[in-house]
């Protein structure tokens, strides 16, 4: 009989309305990614897995980006329902940051008009493809204004060291306590 080894933590990374910079910074973990691949099972990630639907029973999810459209919102609810520890990953997830700058135009309609009509040459038209192109939400919101969040990892993007400082305790099943300019600075 083989002895039961403890199950590896199941890790996901999720990309909402962000520039993917937080994911690029995650890839900056370089050779530590090999150790991570050994210590965790990567079950969903735009940079580490081909799975297209969010799985059940995820232990840790790093969520990049603000919540800007109906696709983002739906995926976020799936993530929350199937994840033990949700990490708000980077300034866009935590403050709405750059995608949130469109909130100053007050609503999705003025944003679409500005981008597709006012700034277009003569042939501009509003995008309309229900079921294919997700609708913009009226305002871009930070993740924790929509669902509960367990861990915050600020930075635009959070540097690789900071990501590792959060992941090390999470892989041991503990919550990280981040503090100081190296770990919680915005920007």
């Amino acid at each position: 009989m083989s002895q039961a080894t403890p199950r590896k933590p199941r890790l996901a990374t999720v990309w909402l309305a962000g520039c993917s910079g937080c994911h690029m910074s995650f890839l900056d973990l370089d050779e530590w990614l090999l150790e991570l691949a050994d210590r965790a099972e990567i079950v969903y990630s735009p940079v580490g897995s081909d799975i297209k639907t969010y799985p059940k029973d995820v232990d840790i999810a790093l969520v990049e980006g603000g919540v800007a459209n109906t696709d983002n919102l739906e995926l976020l609810h799936q993530v929350r329902a199937n994840t033990r520890t949700l990490v708000s990953f980077g300034d866009c997830a935590i403050t709405a940051n750059i995608p949130g700058m469109r909130n100053l135009l007050r609503g999705s309609d003025p944003v679409l008009r500005r981008a597709y009509l006012e700034l277009a040459d003569g042939s501009g038209q509003l995008p309309h493809a229900p079921g294919i192109v997700p609708e913009l939400l009226e305002r871009v919101l930070p993740v924790h204004e929509l669902v509960p969040v367990e861990v915050y990892l600020p930075g635009c993007p959070p540097p690789a060291d900071r990501i590792r400082a959060a992941l090390e305790p999470l892989l041991r099943g503990e919550l990280p306590h981040l503090s100081g300019a190296d770990q919680i600075r915005f920007g």
Binding site: G100, L104, S179, I184, R185, F186
Partner: protein, 238 residues
Amino acid sequence: MSVCTLRINDHDLAVPLGTTLLQAARQAGIHIPTLCFLEGLSAVAACRLCLVELEGSDRLMAACVTAAAEGMRVHTDTPRLREIRRTVIELLFTEGNHVCAVCVANGHCELQNLAVEVGMDHSRLPYRFPQRGVDLSHAQYGLDHNRCILCTRCVRVCDEVEGAHVWDVGWRGEHCQIISGLGEPWGDVNACTHCGKCVEVCPTGALFHKTDTSEEKQGHPERLQALMHARTHQQWNP
């Protein structure tokens, strides 16, 4: 010179009468976070970050404007004060539009530093995303109201030190904002001498040189302090 004795945290101190609690604490090497206060300008107690507890009183006092008195027992770093300071910083972040990643002051901003100091890894208050403008009418400088925290350092330095009184505070409540002249574009206000003092003392990226791009704005409050020292002691050649 009459002196009073007081205790701040576990330090027993003797300071000249008229010393503020902030001065007394700083002399003893005790750190109290501040934002609107700036050495060299009058104190206005606008930001409430420097609140301290006094034994025997429920009322919190702003250390920058409270005079030390005989027998005072002061606490500067209790859980209640830490909670208030974090909330003050969250209020400042959520009532404006702070996008640090693209800000001229990113990496050199007093508000950003204070967020780290109070342990703000997110805001527990909702972001308001207010609609605010940017004034680029001045030949050399700009004012981005999105990043203004209404500390009034610019108002005070221009009035008290430069003697031009270009700035003031206009409107009320959520509409409250810094105004130039009688609410005119900054570039139209003839009283402005283009001295740049307001830009140097602004703790955030709200006032900046037009040539600054992201992360390039550095504040220079030490220049104000050198000037005030020179004026007070008539020492112009260090």
